[in-house]
Symmetry: C2
Subunit: 476 residues, 2 copies
């Protein structure tokens, strides 16, 4: 307890000095050894303090040289506004826009800031190929047989083992595999809702979830959401009598990238459990944290099986493999049955390959590098945006994940900007995709999972220039 | 026209002589040359006549020796009764039974007559493995990327090309790939129905379809079905005002194995189109015909895009790959959207592997051998059943597919028989699984996709003995 207090005080102190400009961008910070001596804390604690500040992009580590004040700490880019959607369901789906943006998926001639997937160059492709080959050799009948309904047992065992890191304490029998995370979410919503039911979501929200909800005939209530702390619990509380189910992405939500604080997770789980409202948790981004530790999930605080925890390797290893899963708590029987009737079983070969990859320990090595690259990318993007985008542009402060949320000054219509950018071979995801209401017209989402290059910087510059032209000419 | 008449007359004549005992089991038939001379028909027509009779198991070809009257022609096994379900929806799902039977999937200690999949020993496993390895090499980023939404274009092109053989005349743009055929059926039913709608099905019907319909909140009407000609069109016609959608398996339906005649297919397509009721056609077994020619589909007669044709390679190549597709006619946009929200995309690696396999032409070679084996299996099973099963047992006359339907004399409860057989390491699929009503208590389905061995014959003998004990002791 005392240690935590000391830890928070020291970290807060350094953060304040940086924010106040007492410690200047680029300035070297005391070494871990000195910090630990100075405050009478362990080397480990001292290191955790710097890593925590690094996750907040206030501090930057340089290999072999130590810790420095981050150039980002001085950016004149404020946070986007908390969202303020109408608290009624208002299903105006931007179908054509979503179809248009998703139709650029896989196009090699475009810079795809629009699609939330990691670039292949950041993935362990050679090793994955080997795992596929090995899986065809090791599986009975080469993987041509149906898997058992619940899914690959080695994969479920590995997911259960990894859940210890976020205090999920799952057993292999708690988990059901699926055809990617979207399929897991679809099974959960089908199990828990009927048309006409009401679903509460964060706002902005991933378009696939909005489309899924609409396609199942649900009424969607978007809930006010803060760009750093996540869904507004007070607003959610007021809506409880109206809603049947809640779906949240508490860790590194796309597009905002926040990590909901543990206390909020705990509070929401208790709140929904009391109201007997199931909570579907999408934790697809949970493993790509920029901070020192794997964040907890809502599932970590689940006492009565009311949380259906969904995830996948689509954002960390191989989107095209379609390997996902759900730990559905007390709804296991319903989910198993739906899996049987809608897809029968998972694709044996890829699920076996991923299971074996996870068992080697290579996954953690990969994740370490991958997280570092993503955080560096975020910093590159932020610096480029500060330099090239119109004055008054605001950006999110992702603490993990693949997304950066950009809020332009009012007057820029990002749907129009999207069309013009496409002519310059740049694809972005306009803010309007992330809501069923008329919001976020001046926002867009950028994927930070691309390989950083000079060309990428140039594309951001072109995008910024285009935005400036829009603003000056009041183009939209 | 005249040629068709002659063809039918000659074939009918021979069939009648066999059935009347004028031509006896084992007797050699005139050679193709003699038959052609005798009737003034071409050698080709003469050959088609024998192949047709072989498909009906009246004639048997022996390599290098010619055609003989089949030993099956004399079996004292009559056809099962046409089904006569109640013409109201009556959703009493035998859940526990289905779960129990499916839970034996993959168990090596059992003889799995119960599961409708081909034995691995009948599949081109080595070649499929190679295709998987090649696919990981050839695909961009090793197949870790998302596919385009509509699915692998080479696969769609091959499916389109193959549709010429049944006069489907599909284009690659008509086809959407899916995670197996069940997933295609699920997308179709989700696109076309809302809870409370009524679905017409053949009876008996594949349990997965029944479960899917119930899980979507549909009322199921089972329609009277004849074991040789399929669904009773007259009965269907009377139900039209009550139904919203119809799902049929006209080619080698599991469990009955019939091939619905072309005229019936044509009539049903016209009937449903006029009534504006969409027809979902499951053609998963269409490629495993025992006759001389690939049968047409309902889709072959579709004039206005009202037929959603679904199929897969799950019964011919690799159940565990989950490669299926749908040609949804005028419902394409809805299906595409549902695919996006429920599964995002297919598993790139396996879809690419199957596409390449189809392109080599090896698929047709495999199918030729596979069909021959299945038909031989059917004959082995039929002879064993005639020898070992209780007097009065009836069996279906599959013209293709993987299923044999057995109807015991009244008094044998196959759910009880199933439990006792399981103790002898034999798993069968009781008739009650294939209906939501109280029917088929004395029926069961046997998978004929297993490798025929002396041990398999022994298991059929054990099963027959068990049935005899049940019958004599009035066990149930």
């Amino acid at each position: 307890m005392k240690r935590d207090f000391l830890y928070n005080e020291i970290a807060g102190n350094i953060a304040n000095k940086i924010k106040a400009g007492i410690l200047k961008a680029g300035e070297r910070l005391p070494s871990i050894r000195i910090l630990s001596k100075e405050h009478g804390i362990s080397m480990n604690t001292a290191k955790r303090i710097y890593l925590e500040l690094e996750a907040q992009s206030l501090v930057q580590s340089k290999p072999q040289s130590g810790f420095f004040v981050s150039p980002l700490s001085y950016l004149k880019l404020t946070l986007p506004e908390p969202s303020a959607p109408l608290s009624v369901s208002n299903n105006t789906e931007p179908n054509d826009l979503i179809n248009d943006v998703y139709s650029t998926m896989g196009r090699n001639d475009l810079t795809l800031f629009s699609i939330g997937v990691p670039s292949g160059s950041l993935l362990p492709l050679a090793r994955l190929k080997k795992e596929i080959v090995l899986a065809t050799r090791e599986l009975k009948e080469g993987g041509t047989e149906y898997e058992t309904l619940q899914g690959n047992v080695k994969l479920r065992r590995m997911i259960a083992a990894r859940s210890l890191s976020w205090e999920g304490n799952l057993k292999e029998s708690d988990i059901i595999t699926s055809h990617g995370c979207m399929n897991a979410l679809s099974l959960c919503l089908m199990a828990l809702t009927k048309p006409g039911d009401t679903l509460a979501l964060e706002s902005p929200c991933y378009p696939g979830i909005l489309q899924l909800a609409v396609s199942l005939g649900l009424n969607v209530v978007e809930v006010a959401t803060h760009p750093v702390s996540g869904i507004d619990i007070h607003a959610l509380k007021k809506l409880l009598p109206k809603i049947n189910v809640c779906l949240l992405v508490p860790n590194f939500n796309t597009p905002l990238g926040y990590c909901m604080p543990d206390e909020s997770k705990k509070e929401i789980v208790a709140l929904l459990s009391m109201a007997n409202i199931p909570l579907i948790e999408d934790d697809t981004y949970g493993d790509i944290y920029f901070g020192a530790e794997r964040p907890k999930c809502c599932k970590s605080f689940d006492m009565d099986g009311n949380v259906l925890w969904c995830s996948s390797i689509s954002k960390t290893l191989a989107p095209g493999y379609r390997v996902g899963w759900v730990a559905p708590g007390k709804y296991k029987d319903q989910i198993l049955k739906l899996k049987l009737v809608h897809s029968l079983s998972a694709t044996s070969v890829v699920h076996e390959a991923v299971a074996n990859f996870l068992m080697t320990g290579r996954y953690d090595n990969h994740l370490r590098r991958f997280r570092k690259t993503l955080q560096e990318n975020y910093q590159h993007y932020a610096l480029a945006i500060a330099e090239y985008f119109p004055y008054g542009t605001k950006i999110s402060r992702p603490q993990g994940g693949l997304a950066l949320w950009v809020e332009f000054p009012k007057g820029i219509d990002t749907v129009e900007l999207y069309k013009y950018a496409l002519k310059k071979q740049i694809s972005v995801a306009p803010g309007r995709m992330f809501t069923l209401q008329n919001q976020f017209q001046n926002c867009l989402r950028l994927c930070i999972g691309l390989q950083w290059t000079d060309d990428l910087r140039l594309k951001l510059r072109q995008l910024g220039n285009l935005a400036k032209i829009f603003l000056n000419n009041n183009f939209s």
